[in-house]
């Protein structure tokens, strides 16, 4: 049996109220909020965050696929760096999907086909979107940032694959040229009816015909939506009852692009009872549709209930491009990057067999007892507690103070890193934290990624 063996979602902690944005432009208040990347997040870090929730506990994937329309690099694999940060072995196949707003569902179909073909037993698809809209546009109010990950496997299947279907349509709806930093689009009724509805409707209809399933039997429908409404119109026309349509959190999180149908799928899996049929549909330059049947009760999704108010509109805009417009970071040579990858990217340290001390960075001489025999490279824990910290107003950061911490890692080893995703008033010695991959200051025309810590769920 082939199907979904795990699911996770990642939503940034920062929220901006839509009325803050509408008020900035002197417009009538718009209800709800949207999730936004912190200044040090992008789709690579969010894609890691979603994927790591599955690689921490689940089986190690033979292939890791990253999908996004807003990857940090035109040329350089985000999947390969996510695989390294997840500490996956070098033989992991890594692939990057992009281009279309349905790249998430397309990656899912490709993953299913790879497992079906016997090429690989376990594929992890992680999709992340960081959506930048034209200031003052409706999309600036609606677009949100988020990530989701789905594991496709032969074993431990929670929901089996029933059928997949795609259609292509070179329709001019929404796009971003190679030189655009913001999404462009016509956003007219024509786009909604002749683009979205004209593709999602038929692709679902043809999928259900292929599977021999009447629309009324769909228990949960996770459908991409350009606006949080049109997917309901579409479902109704297809004969899928509105209460069957999964809420993809548009009101609180936003329109999250390629991540949206996979987020919906993860939420559907969690809600499904054994035997339930789950529909997932993605839209963009055509459409994809996938049908699953739930086998066993779905996984409990790790839900991050912590949210932080992003504050004012100017702060939101400043954070949005802070790292891109600034610099000041050091140049990282490819020699140093590669040689230190196992410690700085994979988060390995050294364990001394004589005194048992776990230490970072990797060493050939034990820093506690100076033993040189039998030192072992080990994975460091990615959680710990703050040993000491400072709130630094001298360090250049979009929101001051920057918080610097010394963290005692669970399982041993002490780590130095900046703290993120926290209200500075909550920081305490002894506070439990988790390590998260984040963007550091730019240098030498490269994005830099390293580890920061943030409060773990349920603390502070």
């Amino acid at each position: 049996m082939i199907g979904i063996s795990g699911a996770a979602i990642y939503v940034p902690r920062y929220r901006i109220a839509r009325e803050v944005i509408s008020a900035a432009w002197g417009k009538a208040p718009v209800p709800g909020s949207k999730a936004i990347c912190h200044f040090d997040e992008d789709t690579l870090t969010m894609g890691y965050a979603a994927a790591s929730r599955l690689t921490r506990t689940g089986a190690e994937p033979g292939r890791l696929v990253f999908a996004s329309t807003s990857a940090p690099y035109w040329q350089r694999s985000s999947a390969s760096q996510i695989a390294a940060a997840c500490d996956l072995r070098a033989s992991t196949g890594t692939m990057d999907f992009g281009g279309s707003l349905r790249c998430g569902t397309s990656a899912l179909i490709a993953a299913i086909e790879a497992v079906q073909a016997g090429q690989v037993n376990h594929v992890l698809v992680t999709v992340a979107e960081r959506r930048d809209a034209v200031p003052e546009s409706t999309e600036e109010l609606m677009f949100g940032d988020a990530a989701a990950a789905i594991a496709m496997s032969r074993e431990g299947v929670l929901a089996e694959v029933v059928a997949t279907h795609s259609r292509s349509d070179d329709f001019l709806d929404e796009w971003r040229r190679d030189r655009d930093s913001q999404v462009q689009g016509y956003y007219s009724k024509y786009s909604l009816t002749r683009g979205f509805e004209a593709n999602v409707g038929p692709v679902v209809k043809e999928l259900l015909e292929k599977a021999g399933v009447p629309p009324s039997e769909i228990a949960l429908a996770a459908i991409a939506s350009p606006d949080g409404r049109s997917h309901l119109t579409c479902a109704k026309a297809l004969g899928i009852a509105l209460h069957r349509v999964v809420d993809t959190c548009v009101a609180q999180v936003g329109v999250t692009g390629a991540a949206m149908p996979l987020m919906g799928l993860a939420l559907a899996l969690e809600a499904a009872k054994p035997g339930d049929l789950i529909l997932c549909a993605g839209y963009g330059d055509g459409a994809d549709a996938l049908l699953f049947r739930s086998i066993s009760p779905g996984p409990g999704l790790l839900r991050d209930s912590k949210t932080i108010d992003a504050g004012t509109y100017p702060l939101f805009r400043k954070s949005r491009h802070y790292l891109l417009e600034g610099s000041g970071g050091a140049e990282i040579s490819n020699v140093l990057w590669k040689r230190e990858a196992s410690q700085n990217v994979r988060l390995h340290g050294t364990r001394c067999p004589v005194c048992s001390r776990v230490q970072f960075p990797i060493t050939r001489i034990c820093s506690a007892c100076r033993n040189t025999e039998g030192l072992e490279e080990v994975r460091l824990g990615r959680t710990g507690r703050i040993f000491t910290f400072t709130k630094d107003f001298l360090y250049d950061a979009p929101v001051q103070p920057a918080i610097m911490t010394v963290v005692d890692l669970d399982g041993g080893g002490r780590f130095l890193c900046q703290m993120t995703d926290v209200d500075e008033r909550e920081v305490r010695i002894g506070m439990p934290v988790e390590l998260v991959l984040r963007r550091m200051r730019e240098g030498a025309a490269n994005h830099h990624y390293y580890w920061k810590c943030r409060p773990v769920e349920g603390t502070a």
């Binding site: 400072t390 610097m404 130095l416 890193c417």
Partner: protein
Amino acid sequence: MKDKVAIIGVGCTKFGDQFDLSYEDMVADAANAAFADAGIEPERIDAAWLGTFSPYGGHGKASVGLADALRLYGKPITRVENFCATGTDAFRNAAMAVASGMYDVALVVGAEKLKNRPTRGLSSEGEHPYQTDGLTAPGIFAMAANRYFHQFNVGRESLAKVAVKNHHNGARNQKAHFQMEVSEEQVLNAPMVAWPFGLFDCCPTTDGAAAAVICRADMAKPFRDDFVVLKGMGLSVTSGRPWFDSGFEYVGFSATQTASQAAYKMAGISDPVREIDLAEVHDCFTWTEISNYEDLGFCRKGEGAHFIAEGRSSLAGDMPVNTSGGLKSFGHPIGASGVRMIYEVVTQLRGQAERRQVRDAELGLVHNLGGPGSVACVLVLGRP
């Protein structure tokens, strides 16, 4: 080594924002003042040591930073860099060379031109590209202060007393960067730099240079009667990345403990507070001075806050600390500071410290601390 090396001349520029002076101008001013103080011509020196932490714009790089500043060529010159302990380590190397008999007369210069840079504070050039990204000089010591507060239940009020004292002393020193008194309230209400350090808990970014001329002690007399001799000396180096050491308690610096013990042993000191008359210690931040009291053995670990509160380190106390104003008020041009401390102790031992003079000063201590508490150099200087 004890009593083998004599300081026969010292010089020091005005410390501060020396926007109109170049690195070479300051080196020349300090060295020429020391030559004049020793009553010698530059050619008289056999060798020289230059202490500069961070060259910028090509100034202070290698030994030529000194040779070109003085247009003094053909002499053996060495540049020393050892974090903020650069100045004292330059002196230490010169002293060993003189004591060995290799050279009779040597020049030591510490100089730093920090205000050529367009940015605030110290640059992070030469650091790991991201392992330490986010660390600033105040941040490094603030993390220790915060842990110290946590462990010993001490607060910012204790730190403020150090700033008040050192500004009081600096106000009595015409070469100090800041010559103004501050109140405890001012210190506590100043803008935050790195919790728990406010603006007045931090030493400034300063330009300056200081110099000393040394010779073998047995040949000092013809140069001057009131020469000062080196009694004790110690250098200790621990990890430059204590944040990765899970055994590090973050409440003090073992480098200072080890270096001072070595210096006391050489000088024959068993009770530093009773035997030493004044100390110039490395108060890069107010908390550092409190930790220094403990690490130098003036009091036990955790009791430094009482030491300042009881006024023991004030000008009138039984162990006046930073009579010059310290890094806090005199300023901290990195490589210059250690030599500047020697300048102050020599001035005190000669009885020339005027309004901040410690009465009957015979034995003085110099303490430099570099990096995140990684490098400490301690000198004991005394009348012959």
